[in-house]
């Protein structure tokens, strides 16, 4: 460490080693870049896309599906940022309740449609509905039901869930604008984050967890085993988004990685490889051994992104995965 002593490295070293209040400075440029260039614009787009979805008055499947897909895309651009306002009030799961191995969402949705209680559609009541029937996956059940749901209650519920989604998106954006962005960019004593090391670690953890979610859950759950593939477990299967979600999420994670640290050739190469492979894997076809093998390789390639990021970005930021989180005992 003593051999190369650029001012930047020295600053980071001091930030990493010294947790005393006096060094709580103006915040780290890398964290500010993620906040300004990635998180805030991403959440702004989510607010816009969900508002557009909520603005549709008709029951016609075409426009609703189109706007719902735009909203899902906007969510995937920020879904890995599991910190701050999205963690409050159970919003993460209220926006995207998946995976759901026990089929809670389907069961509760069936009951909700059977009850067809108009009172449940009032905004305050929708917010109190189970997270398993709300959000993007609750709406997918209504918009892509097979056979289609013709009745007026299903349409009214679709509109109510869209309003609920738009409300949550705007609350999250406001939470970032009115406090959480500052908590990340201006850490210090008595604050939520005490210093730059903690804010960098929070973002690095979000990046790594987001990459792992694609490998372990989006690919890993439908992958099952060679003898027993589970294509029915793929995310957003009814709407045919499973493959697209992986590509969209990895693309967003790459943008975040770049905001965190400029020069990341190994991580970039790993992203390129995995995204190119993802474009050739339709998870719906996992019963085909050829597809299964490709999907398994995709999972490995996504884990290779994590390894590259840990080797390339984590040391540059002077952070690792948590001391206790990694210990596990």
């Amino acid at each position: 460490m003593a051999t190369t002593r650029s001012p930047l490295k020295l600053r980071r070293l001091l930030a990493a080693l010294c947790l005393t209040p006096t060094l709580a400075g103006p915040g780290a440029a890398d964290v500010a870049d993620v906040v300004q260039d990635h998180a805030l614009p991403g959440y702004h787009r989510l607010t816009g896309a969900t508002a557009a979805l909520a603005g549709i008055d008709s029951c016609a499947a075409g426009p609703l599906r189109s706007a719902w897909n735009d909203a899902f895309d906007a969510w995937l651009d920020v879904a890995h940022l599991r910190l701050g306002p999205v963690e409050d009030d159970g919003r993460v799961l209220a926006i995207a309740f998946w995976p759901d191995p026990k089929g809670i969402g389907a069961r509760q949705m069936t009951q909700l449609l059977k009850d067809a209680d108009p009172a449940a559609l009032k905004p305050d009541h929708v917010a109190e509905l189970s997270v398993a029937v709300r959000g993007l996956f609750g709406m997918e059940r209504l918009l892509y039901a097979d056979p289609a749901l013709p009745d007026a209650y299903a349409c009214a519920l679709t509109h109510a869930l869209a309003d609920d989604l738009a409300r949550m998106a705007s609350e999250i954006e406001r939470g970032w604008q009115e406090g959480f962005a500052a908590a990340l960019t201006s850490p210090g004593p008595g604050q939520r984050y005490l210093n730059d090391t903690e804010t960098r670690q929070a973002l690095m953890t979000a990046l790594i967890t987001g990459i792992e979610f694609n490998a372990d859950t989006r690919v890993g759950r439908p992958l099952g085993t060679f003898d027993k593939p589970r294509p029915e477990r793929a995310e957003a299967r009814a709407s045919g988004r499973s493959q697209h979600n992986i590509i969209r999420s990895l693309t967003a994670l790459r943008a975040m990685a770049h905001a965190l640290h400029g020069q990341i050739p190994q991580t970039d190469a790993a992203f390129d490889r995995a995204i190119a492979q993802a474009e050739g894997v339709d998870l719906a076809g996992l019963d085909d051994p050829q597809v299964w093998l490709k999907a398994e390789i995709l999972g490995q390639s996504i884990r290779a992104i994590r390894d590259a990021a840990m080797a390339e970005i984590a040391p540059a930021l002077q952070v690792g995965v948590g001391f206790n989180a990694a210990d596990g005992d």
Binding site: E87, L93, F323, D329
Partner: protein, 356 residues
């Protein structure tokens, strides 16, 4: 047992001068840590998170236990453990270094008998992971023998209040003799065993049907003589089952948080504490970066966020929590607030000395 206790107290009183925890600065808590230079220490901490003593450890620690009257702390190594260090916290001296007998591994936790005459250590047979409880004399810290833990891969062990019996969290996981590789996840059978000092099984509680992959690992004692247990889920991660269980003589009941909190803890609870005054139980998750608070009745109350939190102990009005970034935080009705930042990484457990 009574005779042994008498001899121990006799030996203690004839030691001159007789020092107690006050001579160690009356710490409220003990915690192991890794320093910025990569060495390991045991710290004595105050209620407000100040470190009043630090003593070197030969390798990474895990948990500790404190003698009820003598200022002796036993610091246990990280699993698979090859040592436990008995430290005189008043003099800053290493009193003894416990090494497990051939073929045994220390599992990171231990407890003293009520009269302080015996130290119990959580151990396993290295080859099979079969659980054992090691017995050591106090204050000489010589091996007296061992009794079965009545399960596989025991982890935390606590002496039950108003009793000489021990409660053992047999996590159920068999591990490779040389590392932590898990060997039996499909067929693991965790339990909480109540065991007499002589090794007899008083009761055995297993997780409910379908929950055999929910490893029972850490314990908090409740004022009514029952206990709470923090769990680690080894099954399908998407199932995200409850991670807190209440133990009442021979039975375990899981405490389910609301559905929207299902994934908050990342299927992993690292430590547990109970505040008898506020009647709350809290479990921590370094993997989820969260603390969940429940009522003593097992009803969920709140989630609080802090990266890499793990160590937790009761404090006035709530809890004190430690994390891998070096902070010591207060957790009460107002939320979680860092009080002190240290340039160390606090290890898994924060041990309250409230019995002193």
């Amino acid at each position: 047992m009574q005779r042994r206790g008498f001899l121990a107290s006799l030996a203690a009183t004839t030691m001159a001068p007789r020092l107690g925890w006050a001579d160690a600065g009356s710490p409220s808590y003990l915690a192991a840590a890794q320093t910025a230079t990569g060495t390991y220490e045991l710290h004595g901490l105050t209620q407000t998170g100040d470190s009043i003593f630090r003593l070197p450890l030969p390798a990474r620690g895990h948990a500790a236990t404190a003698h009820p009257s003598l200022p002796h702390a036993v610091a246990f190594a990280r699993r698979p453990g090859t040592f436990a260090l008995v430290i005189d916290c008043a003099r800053g001296l290493e009193l003894a270094r416990l090494t497990p007998p051939q073929g045994r591994q220390l599992n990171g936790h231990g407890a003293f008998s009520a009269d302080g005459s015996v130290l119990y250590t959580s151990e396993q047979v290295a080859e099979t992971s079969e659980g054992r409880i090691g017995l050591w004399s106090v204050p000489g810290y010589r091996r007296l023998g061992e009794i079965p833990s009545h399960g596989t891969g025991p982890h935390e062990i606590r002496r039950l209040p108003m009793s000489d019996d021990l409660l053992v969290a047999n996590g159920g996981i068999a591990t490779d003799p040389t590392d932590r590789t898990k060997l039996n996840i499909d067929r693991m059978r965790p339990n909480l065993a109540r065991v007499t000092p002589g090794g007899s099984l008083v009761s055995l509680a297993e997780p409910p049907e379908g929950m055999h992959q929910n490893s029972t690992r850490h314990l908090a004692l409740l004022p009514d003589g029952n206990a709470a247990c923090a769990l680690q889920w080894e099954g399908d991660p998407a199932e995200a089952p409850p991670l807190l269980a209440l133990w009442s003589e021979g039975a375990l009941a899981l405490c389910e948080p609301p559905l929207e909190e299902a994934f908050t803890m990342a299927n992993y609870a690292g430590s547990i504490a109970c505040n008898h005054a506020t009647r709350q139980i809290a479990i921590t998750s370094p993997k989820g970066g969260a603390v969940q608070v429940f009522g003593m009745d097992g009803v969920f109350q709140a989630t609080h966020r802090r990266a890499d939190v793990c160590g937790i102990a009761a404090a006035s009005g709530g809890f004190v929590v430690t994390d891998g970034n070096g902070a010591i935080s207060r957790l009460d009705a107002d939320g979680l607030h860092p009080m002190k930042a240290h340039s160390v990484q606090w290890d898994n457990h924060l041990i309250a000395l409230n019995a002193v």
